[in-house]
């Protein structure tokens, strides 16, 4: 032994294996593949967590199915009388194409537009979009028109719907899809991220990881790949449904991707803020259980703001989750929106950035007091 002599001062004569020269202090650079290994472990933890998967994937899908079933039972109506106005050939072609379908029937006289018809359609001059004026008492007429468009060869056109009173008509699917997607992403952020972080801290795992050469940011961001992939998978499912229903165009598919990425950033920053500050898993579950319905109902995501008093709805429409729902409804064509999408994106990104900074500063690695 070649080092501190006190280690050889032991008086007993017990034979001990000779100790070779100690290894040199390793280089401070972390080994490559550190993040990949952590992310792999965190992914396995997530996909093997039945509760997190249930609330992030299964439950929102069940919820979406429930909404669709309710819609089929309560919103399906028709046949509707549709008036197509306009003097150009576009209007004439559309009127001919709509013909006399099972759900919609075009009527000839534009004069009937004000009385006795459920909606009036006016194609734009370039034929790229359709303006639909509906009777607010027959909101599902917009869906019926949208369903009828593929048979006319007019699918893919933007449908700009408005009620006769000037308000945007309520459409069930464009409302439900963003709501379910936001709900799924919120579960992913609160249940599967905040809950996981708090458990890791309460169990001392984060504390132990801090004693390894792993960079703190690598430890924390290693949670993101699995959650990001799951979020994008949820988006793919929602996008596929929206496409099948004719709610999504290729361009709006891209904007929906951007909206979802911004939404994941926003909700994950909430998840990291809660996960980085709350002490016990029980408290986290309680707060998540309270926060989720409050945010979903109080932001018009699962409960239409239009059904709330105007003043309250106006205020609530500015909360970040409401902005996320608003931006997603922009993407699924024809949804009720309150703000310009660029404004939604800007405010979501600004809030997410702010929450990220707060989450990073407030993050606690362990529950013990500091000296």
């Amino acid at each position: 032994m070649s080092t501190v002599p006190t280690s050889r001062s032991r008086p007993d004569t017990t034979a001990r294996t000779p100790v070779p020269a100690s290894p040199a202090l390793p280089a401070a650079a972390p080994p490559p593949g550190q993040f990949k290994a952590l992310a792999k472990g965190m992914t396995k933890e997530l996909v093997r967590d039945p509760m997190a998967l249930f609330f992030s994937v299964v439950f929102p899908v069940l919820l979406a199915g429930l909404f669709v079933a309710i819609m089929q039972l309560t919103w399906a109506g028709g046949p509707y009388k549709i008036a197509v106005v306009g003097s150009g050939t576009q209007a004439a072609q559309l009127r001919d194409a709509l013909g006399d379908g099972s759900k919609v029937a075009a009527v000839d006289s534009p004069r009937d537009a004000r009385e006795g018809v459920d909606a009036v359609i006016a194609p734009s001059a370039d034929g790229d979009s359709l303006r639909v004026v509906t009777d607010p008492e027959s909101p599902s007429v917009v869906s019926a028109v949208r369903d009828a468009l593929p048979q006319t060869g007019w699918e893919g056109r933007n449908l700009d719907a408005v009620g006769t009173d000037g308000s945007p008509p309520f459409e069930p699917m464009p409302f439900v899809l963003p709501g379910v997607l936001v709900f799924a992403l919120m579960s992913l952020a609160l249940s599967a991220t905040a809950g996981t972080l708090v458990s890791l801290r309460a169990n001392g795992t984060l504390r132990l990881l801090r004693t390894t050469p792993a960079r703190p940011q690598a430890i924390l961001t290693s949670l993101l790949p699995a959650r990001g992939a799951l979020g994008l998978a949820l988006l793919a499912v929602a996008g596929a449904i929206a496409t099948v229903l004719g709610l999504l165009t290729p361009l709006s598919g891209l904007t929906m991707l951007l909206t979802t990425v911004l939404g994941m950033w926003l909700l994950m920053s909430v998840g990291f803020l809660l996960g980085g500050t709350l002490r016990s898993p029980e408290l986290t579950n309680a707060i998540s259980g309270l926060l989720t319905p409050l945010l979903l109902m109080g932001s018009g995501v699962l409960f239409p703001l239009e059904l709330m008093p105007d003043g309250l709805a106006d205020v609530l429409s500015w909360n970040p989750v409401a902005l996320l729902g608003d931006a997603l409804r922009h993407d699924v064509t024809g949804g009720v929106t309150r703000h310009a999408q660029w404004l939604d994106w800007l405010l979501i990104a600004a809030t997410a950035a702010l929450l990220t900074v707060v989450a990073v500063r407030a993050f606690r690695w362990d529950t013990e007091k500091k000296s």
Partner: protein, 349 residues
């Protein structure tokens, strides 16, 4: 001042040793140097001006009652908390508390903490592969799994392991990094005797490979068996340090010979032979019926217990004579409890 007095005591008993905190003959810094460490939680001082040095390849034990400051010392050494004062060097590189502490040390140390759960849904081998990937020069995972007797549990999720198996998995995470310094906080708590000895063997093999260990324990047998040197912490202060044998010698009166005999003149004869101060009559429990009570009992403190036994056997062949040699536990109780006071207690005050 207590720390300094004990340091002097220790050095007096090791005349050929070099002072702490200095580099070894080859110029290499010690594995761990803790200097004037103070840790506070608000107004409470958990660790008060503690210092010790651990040489490379050494197993150094921290003993102390619950709340003595062992875990706080370990937390400071591993960079998990910021000390109120003091300096800690691992292999000559300062531990700078903060988020990047361990990363800055570049895998110089690993910790097995108390009461920590790992990832519950990861299997044993997955957990260790993940941990190994965090270090620059890890040990082969299958070899470690085999050594710790977890081979048949390699594909079992951590949550499904028994308490003792989880403890072994924690020990494995501390060893898999192949770090020069490993800090073990009560490493064998909850292990059965067989598993404990297996763990000791693994630690000793790692030490034979050059690894240095700092370990805290409540198990005196473990401390005596495993540690080259020990420090006893009490109320946040370092009460004494040295080899187990040095600590036993410095904190106890030496051996005691206990005698139970009905022979009336034996007590007086013993006082005459060994000195009145060395002989203590014991009356506790002697009158309880059915327990052999009623037979007088006394003890003799002596440095030569074998000679005393021979003397009693000659004078009172029927007497029940037993030798009690001081143990590390006696020394520990003397240093930290309200029991017998060791000879050094007076000098350190």
């Amino acid at each position: 001042m207590q720390r300094q007095m004990f340091t002097i005591q220790e050095r007096r008993e090791q005349p050929d040793s070099e002072p702490d905190h200095e580099a070894a003959e080859d110029g290499a810094p010690p594995a761990l140097a803790v200097r004037e460490l103070t840790v506070r939680y608000g107004d409470f001082t958990a660790v008060n001006d503690v210092e010790f040095t651990v040489g490379r390849g050494e197993i150094y034990g921290l003993l102390g009652r619950n709340g003595a400051g062992k875990t706080s010392t370990i937390a400071a050494v591993t960079g998990l908390l910021r000390p109120a004062a003091g300096r800690i060097d691992v292999l000559g590189r300062p531990v700078e508390p903060g988020r990047h502490s361990a990363a800055r040390l570049g895998g110089a140390l690993a910790l097995q903490p108390q009461k920590t759960s790992l990832f519950p849904r990861l299997q044993v081998d997955e957990t260790l592969h993940m941990w190994a990937s965090l270090y620059p020069d890890p040990r082969p995972v299958p070899e470690l799994i085999e050594e710790l007797g977890l081979a048949d549990k390699a594909r079992t999720r951590a949550a499904k392991l028994s308490g003792g198996q989880q403890q072994r998995l924690l020990l494995a995470t501390a060893l898999v990094g192949n770090t020069p310094l490993v800090v073990l906080d009560e490493p064998t708590t909850g292990l059965d005797p067989h598993a404990r000895r297996d763990a000791w063997a693994v630690i000793n093999r790692a030490r034979a490979g050059g690894t240095t260990f700092l370990l805290s324990t409540h198990a005196m047998e473990e401390a005596e068996e495993m540690c080259d040197r020990l420090a006893i912490l009490h109320n946040g202060r370092l009460r004494t340090s040295g080899t187990p044998a040095q600590i036993v010698r410095s904190l106890t009166h030496g051996s005691t010979v206990t005698v139970r005999s009905a022979q009336e003149d034996l007590l007086a004869a013993a006082r005459e032979e060994f000195g009145a101060d060395a002989v203590t009559a014991q009356t506790r429990g002697t009158t309880r019926p059915g327990t052999g009570g009623g037979v007088p009992r006394f003890s003799v403190a002596t440095e030569q217990p074998e000679r005393a036994v021979a003397w009693f056997e000659e004078r009172a062949p029927a007497a029940d004579v037993r030798i009690h040699r001081p143990t590390l536990e006696d020394a520990f109780l003397a240093a930290t409890g309200t029991g017998a006071t060791g000879p050094d207690e007076g000098s350190e005050q």
